[in-house]
Protein backbone atom coordinates (compact mmCIF):
# COMPACT_ATOMS: atom_id res chain seq x y z
CA UNK A 1 0.00 0.00 0.00
CA UNK A 2 1.23 3.49 -0.79
CA UNK A 3 2.10 5.96 1.93
CA UNK A 4 3.11 9.58 2.13
CA UNK A 5 5.89 11.38 3.92
CA UNK A 6 5.49 15.13 4.39
CA UNK A 7 8.69 17.09 4.94
CA UNK A 8 8.07 20.29 6.87
CA UNK A 9 10.68 23.01 7.36
CA UNK A 10 9.98 25.55 10.10
CA UNK A 11 11.61 28.51 11.80
CA UNK A 12 12.77 26.23 14.62
CA UNK A 13 13.43 22.81 13.13
CA UNK A 14 12.26 20.11 10.74
CA UNK A 15 9.33 17.74 11.11
CA UNK A 16 8.44 14.61 9.18
CA UNK A 17 4.74 13.69 9.02
CA UNK A 18 3.85 10.19 7.86
CA UNK A 19 0.61 8.47 6.93
CA UNK A 20 -0.77 5.64 4.90
CA UNK A 21 -2.70 6.39 1.71
CA UNK A 22 -5.85 7.31 3.63
CA UNK A 23 -4.04 10.39 4.94
CA UNK A 24 -6.22 10.58 8.01
CA UNK A 25 -3.94 9.32 10.81
CA UNK A 26 -0.51 10.85 11.07
CA UNK A 27 2.73 10.14 12.85
CA UNK A 28 4.69 13.29 13.68
CA UNK A 29 8.45 12.98 13.98
CA UNK A 30 10.62 15.87 15.12
CA UNK A 31 11.90 18.39 15.66
CA UNK A 32 15.06 17.57 13.81
CA UNK A 33 17.72 20.30 14.07
CA UNK A 34 15.71 21.98 16.82
CA UNK A 35 16.18 25.73 17.04
CA UNK A 36 17.54 26.10 13.49
CA UNK A 37 15.66 27.51 10.52
CA UNK A 38 14.90 24.82 7.98
CA UNK A 39 14.21 26.71 4.80
CA UNK A 40 13.60 23.61 2.70
CA UNK A 41 13.72 19.83 2.75
CA UNK A 42 13.21 17.62 -0.26
CA UNK A 43 13.56 13.96 -1.22
CA UNK A 44 15.22 12.52 -4.30
CA UNK A 45 12.78 11.26 -6.95
CA UNK A 46 15.35 8.56 -7.73
CA UNK A 47 15.65 7.31 -4.13
CA UNK A 48 12.94 8.40 -1.70
CA UNK A 49 15.14 7.63 1.30
CA UNK A 50 17.67 10.23 0.16
CA UNK A 51 16.65 13.56 1.66
CA UNK A 52 18.35 16.94 1.66
CA UNK A 53 17.70 19.75 4.14
CA UNK A 54 18.81 23.37 4.26
CA UNK A 55 19.58 24.25 7.89
CA UNK A 56 20.64 27.76 8.79
CA UNK A 57 20.72 30.39 11.49
CA UNK A 58 21.69 34.02 11.83
CA UNK A 59 24.30 32.94 14.37
CA UNK A 60 26.00 30.00 12.69
CA UNK A 61 25.24 30.32 8.99
CA UNK A 62 24.42 27.58 6.53
CA UNK A 63 24.53 23.82 7.03
CA UNK A 64 23.35 21.22 4.52
CA UNK A 65 22.04 17.97 5.97
CA UNK A 66 21.61 14.72 4.09
CA UNK A 67 19.75 11.57 5.06
CA UNK A 68 20.00 8.19 3.37
CA UNK A 69 17.32 6.49 5.46
CA UNK A 70 14.26 8.64 4.99
CA UNK A 71 15.09 11.09 7.74
CA UNK A 72 15.86 8.72 10.63
CA UNK A 73 19.51 9.79 10.69
CA UNK A 74 21.26 12.78 9.17
CA UNK A 75 24.76 13.78 8.19
CA UNK A 76 26.04 17.33 7.79
CA UNK A 77 27.63 17.58 4.36
CA UNK A 78 29.20 20.48 2.48
CA UNK A 79 28.35 24.10 3.17
CA UNK A 80 30.98 25.83 1.04
CA UNK A 81 28.96 27.95 -1.38
CA UNK A 82 31.59 30.10 -3.09
CA UNK A 83 30.54 32.30 -5.98
CA UNK A 84 32.47 31.72 -9.15
CA UNK A 85 34.91 34.56 -9.78
CA UNK A 86 34.38 38.08 -8.51
CA UNK A 87 30.74 38.21 -7.38
CA UNK A 88 30.11 41.84 -8.37
CA UNK A 89 27.08 43.78 -7.24
CA UNK A 90 23.30 43.87 -7.56
CA UNK A 91 20.81 46.60 -6.72
CA UNK A 92 20.00 47.27 -3.09
CA UNK A 93 16.47 48.29 -2.04
CA UNK A 94 17.27 51.95 -2.70
CA UNK A 95 18.71 51.23 -6.14
CA UNK A 96 22.36 51.60 -5.13
CA UNK A 97 24.92 48.93 -5.93
CA UNK A 98 25.33 46.28 -3.22
CA UNK A 99 27.94 43.52 -3.19
CA UNK A 100 26.81 39.96 -3.80
CA UNK A 101 27.04 37.98 -0.52
CA UNK A 102 26.02 34.42 0.25
CA UNK A 103 23.40 34.28 3.00
CA UNK A 104 21.47 30.99 2.87
CA UNK A 105 20.03 28.20 0.76
CA UNK A 106 16.35 28.71 0.07
CA UNK A 107 15.57 25.67 -2.06
CA UNK A 108 17.10 22.26 -2.73
CA UNK A 109 16.04 20.44 -5.89
CA UNK A 110 17.32 16.87 -6.23
CA UNK A 111 17.99 15.55 -9.71
CA UNK A 112 15.23 13.48 -11.29
CA UNK A 113 17.48 10.45 -11.82
CA UNK A 114 20.60 10.67 -9.63
CA UNK A 115 20.27 10.71 -5.82
CA UNK A 116 23.70 12.28 -5.48
CA UNK A 117 22.95 15.21 -7.77
CA UNK A 118 21.14 18.16 -6.27
CA UNK A 119 20.69 21.84 -7.09
CA UNK A 120 20.63 24.65 -4.52
CA UNK A 121 18.99 28.02 -5.01
CA UNK A 122 20.63 30.56 -2.74
CA UNK A 123 20.46 34.12 -1.44
CA UNK A 124 22.09 36.33 -2.80
CA UNK A 125 20.64 34.81 -5.92
CA UNK A 126 22.68 32.11 -7.60
CA UNK A 127 22.33 28.46 -8.53
CA UNK A 128 24.71 25.78 -7.28
CA UNK A 129 24.98 22.09 -8.11
CA UNK A 130 26.44 19.16 -6.23
CA UNK A 131 27.17 15.85 -7.91
CA UNK A 132 28.44 14.10 -4.80
CA UNK A 133 25.49 14.09 -2.47
CA UNK A 134 26.01 17.62 -1.19
CA UNK A 135 29.66 17.30 -0.17
CA UNK A 136 30.89 19.88 -2.66
CA UNK A 137 29.08 22.62 -4.55
CA UNK A 138 29.87 24.50 -7.74
CA UNK A 139 28.06 27.54 -9.00
CA UNK A 140 26.34 27.42 -12.39
CA UNK A 141 27.63 30.90 -12.93
CA UNK A 142 26.17 31.43 -16.39
CA UNK A 143 23.02 32.58 -14.62
CA UNK A 144 24.65 35.38 -12.66
CA UNK A 145 26.83 36.03 -15.69
CA UNK A 146 23.83 36.55 -17.92
CA UNK A 147 24.57 40.24 -17.74
CA UNK A 148 21.44 41.52 -16.03
CA UNK A 149 22.69 40.75 -12.51
CA UNK A 150 23.48 44.39 -11.65
CA UNK A 151 19.75 45.12 -12.20
CA UNK A 152 18.48 42.39 -9.87
CA UNK A 153 17.21 43.53 -6.50
CA UNK A 154 16.03 41.85 -3.30
CA UNK A 155 12.41 41.27 -2.43
CA UNK A 156 11.27 41.72 1.16
CA UNK A 157 12.67 38.29 2.10
CA UNK A 158 16.02 38.89 0.44
CA UNK A 159 17.37 38.35 -3.06
CA UNK A 160 16.63 34.67 -3.22
CA UNK A 161 16.63 32.05 -5.93
CA UNK A 162 13.63 30.10 -4.67
CA UNK A 163 12.25 28.02 -7.55
CA UNK A 164 14.05 25.33 -9.53
CA UNK A 165 12.02 23.29 -12.05
CA UNK A 166 13.66 20.45 -13.97
CA UNK A 167 12.10 19.52 -17.32
CA UNK A 168 11.64 15.73 -17.28
CA UNK A 169 11.23 15.48 -21.05
CA UNK A 170 14.20 17.60 -22.07
CA UNK A 171 17.44 17.00 -20.18
CA UNK A 172 19.33 20.22 -19.84
CA UNK A 173 16.25 22.43 -19.66
CA UNK A 174 15.63 24.06 -16.34
CA UNK A 175 13.57 26.98 -15.11
CA UNK A 176 14.45 29.11 -12.09
CA UNK A 177 12.91 32.15 -10.45
CA UNK A 178 14.39 34.94 -8.36
CA UNK A 179 12.81 37.62 -6.17
CA UNK A 180 13.13 40.22 -7.54
CA UNK A 181 14.69 39.49 -10.91
CA UNK A 182 12.16 37.21 -12.57
CA UNK A 183 12.19 33.84 -14.30
CA UNK A 184 15.07 32.42 -16.33
CA UNK A 185 15.51 29.33 -18.50
CA UNK A 186 18.49 27.29 -19.56
CA UNK A 187 18.46 24.71 -22.36
CA UNK A 188 22.05 23.58 -21.90
CA UNK A 189 22.13 22.33 -18.30
CA UNK A 190 22.94 25.70 -16.83
CA UNK A 191 25.74 26.96 -19.03
CA UNK A 192 23.71 29.80 -20.51
CA UNK A 193 20.49 31.42 -19.40
CA UNK A 194 18.01 33.95 -20.62
CA UNK A 195 15.22 35.82 -18.87
CA UNK A 196 11.69 34.64 -19.69
CA UNK A 197 9.55 37.50 -18.44
CA UNK A 198 7.74 38.75 -21.53
CA UNK A 199 4.16 39.52 -20.59
CA UNK A 200 4.85 40.23 -16.93
CA UNK A 201 3.86 43.66 -15.71
CA UNK A 202 5.12 45.02 -12.39
CA UNK A 203 4.11 48.50 -11.34
CA UNK A 204 6.74 48.71 -8.58
CA UNK A 205 9.66 48.95 -11.04
CA UNK A 206 10.48 51.95 -13.22
CA UNK A 207 9.68 50.13 -16.47
CA UNK A 208 6.74 47.83 -15.65
CA UNK A 209 7.53 45.52 -18.57
CA UNK A 210 11.31 45.41 -18.14
CA UNK A 211 13.27 42.32 -19.12
CA UNK A 212 14.25 41.74 -15.46
CA UNK A 213 13.25 43.11 -12.07
CA UNK A 214 9.96 41.27 -11.57
CA UNK A 215 9.20 39.78 -8.16
CA UNK A 216 8.23 36.26 -9.14
CA UNK A 217 7.08 34.38 -6.05
CA UNK A 218 6.81 30.84 -7.39
CA UNK A 219 6.49 28.83 -10.61
CA UNK A 220 4.87 25.42 -11.01
CA UNK A 221 4.77 22.87 -13.80
CA UNK A 222 3.04 19.54 -14.41
CA UNK A 223 5.69 17.00 -15.44
CA UNK A 224 3.56 15.74 -18.35
CA UNK A 225 3.35 19.23 -19.88
CA UNK A 226 6.63 20.97 -19.18
CA UNK A 227 5.96 23.78 -21.67
CA UNK A 228 3.02 24.96 -19.57
CA UNK A 229 4.11 27.03 -16.59
CA UNK A 230 2.04 28.68 -13.90
CA UNK A 231 3.36 31.63 -11.90
CA UNK A 232 2.33 33.40 -8.73
CA UNK A 233 3.93 36.81 -9.08
CA UNK A 234 4.07 39.44 -6.34
CA UNK A 235 0.78 40.59 -7.81
CA UNK A 236 -0.84 38.57 -10.64
CA UNK A 237 -1.23 34.88 -11.37
CA UNK A 238 0.27 34.15 -14.78
CA UNK A 239 0.44 31.32 -17.29
CA UNK A 240 2.80 30.44 -20.13
CA UNK A 241 2.08 27.85 -22.82
CA UNK A 242 5.44 28.15 -24.53
CA UNK A 243 8.03 27.35 -21.86
CA UNK A 244 8.15 30.90 -20.64
CA UNK A 245 8.53 32.68 -23.98
CA UNK A 246 5.39 34.66 -23.16
CA UNK A 247 3.02 34.98 -20.23
CA UNK A 248 -0.60 36.02 -19.84
CA UNK A 249 -2.50 36.88 -16.72
CA UNK A 250 -5.02 34.28 -15.44
CA UNK A 251 -5.96 35.91 -12.12
CA UNK A 252 -9.61 35.99 -13.21
CA UNK A 253 -12.06 36.15 -10.32
CA UNK A 254 -9.56 35.69 -7.46
CA UNK A 255 -10.34 37.93 -4.46
CA UNK A 256 -6.68 39.01 -4.50
CA UNK A 257 -4.01 38.05 -6.99
CA UNK A 258 -1.22 38.60 -4.45
CA UNK A 259 0.14 35.43 -2.86
CA UNK A 260 3.10 33.14 -2.66
CA UNK A 261 2.64 29.45 -3.56
CA UNK A 262 1.15 27.92 -6.68
CA UNK A 263 0.77 24.21 -7.36
CA UNK A 264 -0.56 21.87 -10.06
CA UNK A 265 -2.79 18.84 -9.38
CA UNK A 266 -0.75 15.68 -9.84
CA UNK A 267 -3.23 14.05 -12.29
CA UNK A 268 -4.99 17.03 -13.86
CA UNK A 269 -2.52 19.38 -15.57
CA UNK A 270 -5.13 22.14 -15.91
CA UNK A 271 -6.07 22.10 -12.22
CA UNK A 272 -4.05 24.59 -10.21
CA UNK A 273 -4.07 25.95 -6.68
CA UNK A 274 -3.17 29.31 -5.13
CA UNK A 275 -3.65 30.91 -1.72
CA UNK A 276 -4.77 34.54 -2.14
CA UNK A 277 -3.28 36.98 0.36
CA UNK A 278 -4.83 40.37 0.93
CA UNK A 279 -1.89 42.53 -0.10
CA UNK A 280 1.86 42.91 -0.06
CA UNK A 281 1.63 45.20 2.93
CA UNK A 282 -0.62 42.95 5.02
CA UNK A 283 0.40 39.37 4.26
CA UNK A 284 -2.71 37.62 5.58
CA UNK A 285 -5.79 36.18 3.89
CA UNK A 286 -8.69 38.43 2.84
CA UNK A 287 -11.44 38.73 5.46
CA UNK A 288 -9.53 36.65 8.00
CA UNK A 289 -10.55 33.50 6.10
CA UNK A 290 -7.95 31.00 4.92
CA UNK A 291 -9.08 29.83 1.51
CA UNK A 292 -7.28 27.90 -1.17
CA UNK A 293 -8.49 28.75 -4.66
CA UNK A 294 -8.65 26.06 -7.33
CA UNK A 295 -8.96 26.52 -11.05
CA UNK A 296 -9.88 23.50 -13.16
CA UNK A 297 -9.37 25.52 -16.33
CA UNK A 298 -5.72 26.39 -15.98
CA UNK A 299 -6.58 29.81 -14.57
CA UNK A 300 -9.10 32.61 -15.13
CA UNK A 301 -11.97 30.78 -13.38
CA UNK A 302 -11.39 30.07 -9.71
CA UNK A 303 -13.40 28.47 -6.90
CA UNK A 304 -12.82 28.95 -3.19
CA UNK A 305 -11.98 25.87 -1.12
CA UNK A 306 -12.67 26.50 2.54
CA UNK A 307 -14.18 23.38 4.12
CA UNK A 308 -12.02 22.48 7.10
CA UNK A 309 -9.90 25.62 6.91
CA UNK A 310 -10.31 28.41 9.49
CA UNK A 311 -12.94 30.92 8.36
CA UNK A 312 -12.79 33.38 11.24
CA UNK A 313 -9.97 35.48 12.66
CA UNK A 314 -7.29 33.77 10.62
CA UNK A 315 -4.30 35.99 9.86
CA UNK A 316 -1.57 33.57 8.86
CA UNK A 317 0.38 33.47 5.63
CA UNK A 318 1.35 30.54 3.41
CA UNK A 319 4.89 31.01 2.13
CA UNK A 320 6.09 30.23 -1.37
CA UNK A 321 7.49 26.76 -0.70
CA UNK A 322 4.78 25.77 1.79
CA UNK A 323 2.28 24.07 -0.54
CA UNK A 324 2.71 20.67 -2.19
CA UNK A 325 0.77 17.84 -3.82
CA UNK A 326 1.21 14.10 -3.54
CA UNK A 327 0.78 11.68 -6.44
CA UNK A 328 -1.83 9.42 -4.87
CA UNK A 329 -5.33 9.10 -6.27
CA UNK A 330 -7.20 11.19 -5.28
CA UNK A 331 -4.49 13.83 -5.27
CA UNK A 332 -3.53 15.11 -1.84
CA UNK A 333 -2.86 18.82 -1.35
CA UNK A 334 -0.84 20.13 1.60
CA UNK A 335 -0.11 23.56 2.97
CA UNK A 336 1.73 24.94 5.97
CA UNK A 337 1.13 28.31 7.58
CA UNK A 338 3.17 30.89 9.41
CA UNK A 339 0.96 30.03 12.39
CA UNK A 340 2.40 26.53 12.53
CA UNK A 341 -0.51 24.57 11.09
CA UNK A 342 -0.09 21.96 8.37
CA UNK A 343 -3.32 21.13 6.56
CA UNK A 344 -4.06 18.25 4.20
CA UNK A 345 -6.81 17.67 1.71
CA UNK A 346 -6.96 14.03 0.61
CA UNK A 347 -9.51 14.79 -2.11
CA UNK A 348 -7.92 17.41 -4.31
CA UNK A 349 -8.91 20.34 -2.13
CA UNK A 350 -12.60 19.80 -1.36
CA UNK A 351 -12.14 19.00 2.35
CA UNK A 352 -9.25 20.01 4.57
CA UNK A 353 -8.06 18.87 7.97
CA UNK A 354 -5.11 19.84 10.14
CA UNK A 355 -2.32 17.32 10.50
CA UNK A 356 -0.65 19.44 13.19
CA UNK A 357 -1.70 22.80 14.60
CA UNK A 358 1.13 24.11 16.73
CA UNK A 359 4.47 23.83 14.96
CA UNK A 360 6.81 26.81 14.66
CA UNK A 361 6.11 29.01 11.64
CA UNK A 362 6.18 26.81 8.55
CA UNK A 363 8.69 27.79 5.86
CA UNK A 364 8.31 24.85 3.48
CA UNK A 365 6.25 21.73 2.81
CA UNK A 366 7.20 18.92 0.45
CA UNK A 367 5.55 15.55 0.09
CA UNK A 368 6.82 12.18 -1.02
CA UNK A 369 4.47 9.46 -2.29
CA UNK A 370 6.08 6.16 -1.46
CA UNK A 371 4.90 2.78 -2.73
Amino acid sequence: MSRVRVLVGTRKGAFILSSDARRSRWKVDGPHFGGWEIYHMKGSPADPDRLYASQCSAWFGQVIQRSSDGGRTWEAVGNAFAYDGIPGSHQWYDGTAHPWEFKRVWHLEPSLDDPDAVYAGVEDAALFRSGDGGKTWAELSGLRGHGSGPRWQPGAGGMCLHTILLDPSRPGRMFIAISAAGAFRTDDAGKSWRPINRGLRSEHIPDPTAEVGHCVHRIAMHPSRPNVLFMQKHWDVMRSDDAGESWREVSGNLPSDFGFPIEVHSHEPETIYVVPIKSDSEHYPPDGRLRVYRSRTGGDEWEALSRGLPQRNCFVNVLRDAMAVDSLDPCGVYLGTTGGQVYVSADGGDEWAPIVRDLPAVLSVEVQSIS
Binding site: G35, W36, S57, A58, W59, F60, G61, Q62, V63, A76, N79, A80, A82
Partner: protein
Protein backbone atom coordinates in the same frame (compact mmCIF):
# COMPACT_ATOMS: atom_id res chain seq x y z
CA UNK B 1 45.33 20.75 25.05
CA UNK B 2 43.16 23.82 24.73
CA UNK B 3 39.67 23.56 26.13
CA UNK B 4 36.93 25.09 24.02
CA UNK B 5 33.31 25.44 25.09
CA UNK B 6 31.03 25.54 22.07
CA UNK B 7 27.50 26.96 22.01
CA UNK B 8 24.76 24.36 22.41
CA UNK B 9 23.74 24.33 18.74
CA UNK B 10 27.30 23.68 17.63
CA UNK B 11 27.77 20.93 20.23
CA UNK B 12 24.70 19.24 18.77
CA UNK B 13 25.96 19.71 15.23
CA UNK B 14 29.37 18.28 16.14
CA UNK B 15 27.86 15.46 18.20
CA UNK B 16 29.76 16.35 21.37
CA UNK B 17 28.83 17.19 24.94
CA UNK B 18 30.80 19.42 27.26
CA UNK B 19 34.05 21.12 26.30
CA UNK B 20 36.17 19.89 23.41
CA UNK B 21 39.94 19.65 23.63
CA UNK B 22 42.04 20.60 20.63
CA UNK B 23 45.73 21.01 19.91
CA UNK B 24 46.57 24.22 18.08
CA UNK B 25 49.39 24.14 15.58
CA UNK B 26 51.98 26.72 16.62
CA UNK B 27 50.99 29.58 18.84
CA UNK B 28 47.51 29.43 20.39
CA UNK B 29 45.47 32.13 18.70
CA UNK B 30 41.81 32.43 17.81
CA UNK B 31 42.74 31.48 14.28
CA UNK B 32 44.86 28.44 15.13
CA UNK B 33 42.30 27.16 17.63
CA UNK B 34 39.46 27.45 15.13
CA UNK B 35 41.67 25.76 12.53
CA UNK B 36 42.04 22.88 14.99
CA UNK B 37 38.31 22.78 15.73
CA UNK B 38 37.46 22.66 12.03
CA UNK B 39 40.03 19.92 11.44
CA UNK B 40 38.54 17.76 14.20
CA UNK B 41 34.92 18.65 13.47
CA UNK B 42 34.58 19.44 9.74
CA UNK B 43 30.84 20.01 10.10
CA UNK B 44 31.64 23.18 12.04
CA UNK B 45 33.51 24.79 9.16
CA UNK B 46 31.80 28.03 8.30
CA UNK B 47 29.67 28.12 11.44
CA UNK B 48 32.08 30.10 13.65
CA UNK B 49 33.84 32.18 11.00
CA UNK B 50 33.35 32.84 7.34
CA UNK B 51 34.97 30.15 5.23
CA UNK B 52 36.52 32.53 2.75
CA UNK B 53 37.41 35.65 4.74
CA UNK B 54 38.05 33.84 8.05
CA UNK B 55 36.20 36.67 9.77
CA UNK B 56 34.24 35.86 12.93
CA UNK B 57 30.55 35.51 12.18
CA UNK B 58 28.72 38.61 13.36
CA UNK B 59 26.64 36.85 16.04
CA UNK B 60 29.52 34.84 17.49
CA UNK B 61 31.66 36.10 20.38
CA UNK B 62 34.88 34.82 21.99
CA UNK B 63 35.29 35.13 25.75
CA UNK B 64 38.10 33.88 28.02
CA UNK B 65 39.40 34.64 31.50
CA UNK B 66 36.59 37.10 32.08
CA UNK B 67 37.47 39.15 28.98
CA UNK B 68 35.76 39.68 25.65
CA UNK B 69 38.31 38.73 23.00
CA UNK B 70 35.91 39.07 20.08
CA UNK B 71 37.57 42.16 18.70
CA UNK B 72 41.15 41.05 19.22
CA UNK B 73 43.13 40.19 16.12
CA UNK B 74 42.50 36.55 15.13
CA UNK B 75 46.26 36.12 15.15
CA UNK B 76 46.88 37.59 18.61
CA UNK B 77 48.04 35.10 21.23
CA UNK B 78 45.31 33.80 23.49
CA UNK B 79 45.82 34.29 27.25
CA UNK B 80 48.43 32.00 28.76
CA UNK B 81 45.82 30.27 30.90
CA UNK B 82 43.87 29.31 27.76
CA UNK B 83 46.98 28.18 25.91
CA UNK B 84 47.93 26.05 28.91
CA UNK B 85 44.47 24.49 29.14
CA UNK B 86 43.74 25.93 32.59
CA UNK B 87 40.93 28.17 31.33
CA UNK B 88 38.55 27.47 28.43
CA UNK B 89 37.97 29.57 25.35
CA UNK B 90 34.24 30.25 25.35
CA UNK B 91 32.58 30.53 21.96
CA UNK B 92 29.26 32.22 22.51
CA UNK B 93 26.20 32.82 20.38
CA UNK B 94 25.29 36.49 20.87
CA UNK B 95 22.16 37.17 22.89
CA UNK B 96 19.93 38.22 20.05
CA UNK B 97 16.50 36.84 20.88
CA UNK B 98 14.44 34.92 18.37
Amino acid sequence: MIQVVLPAHLRTLAGVSGAVAVEAVGQATQCSVIDAIEASYPMLAGTIRDRATKRRRAFVRFFACGEDLSHESPDSPLPDAVAAGREPLLIIGAIAGG
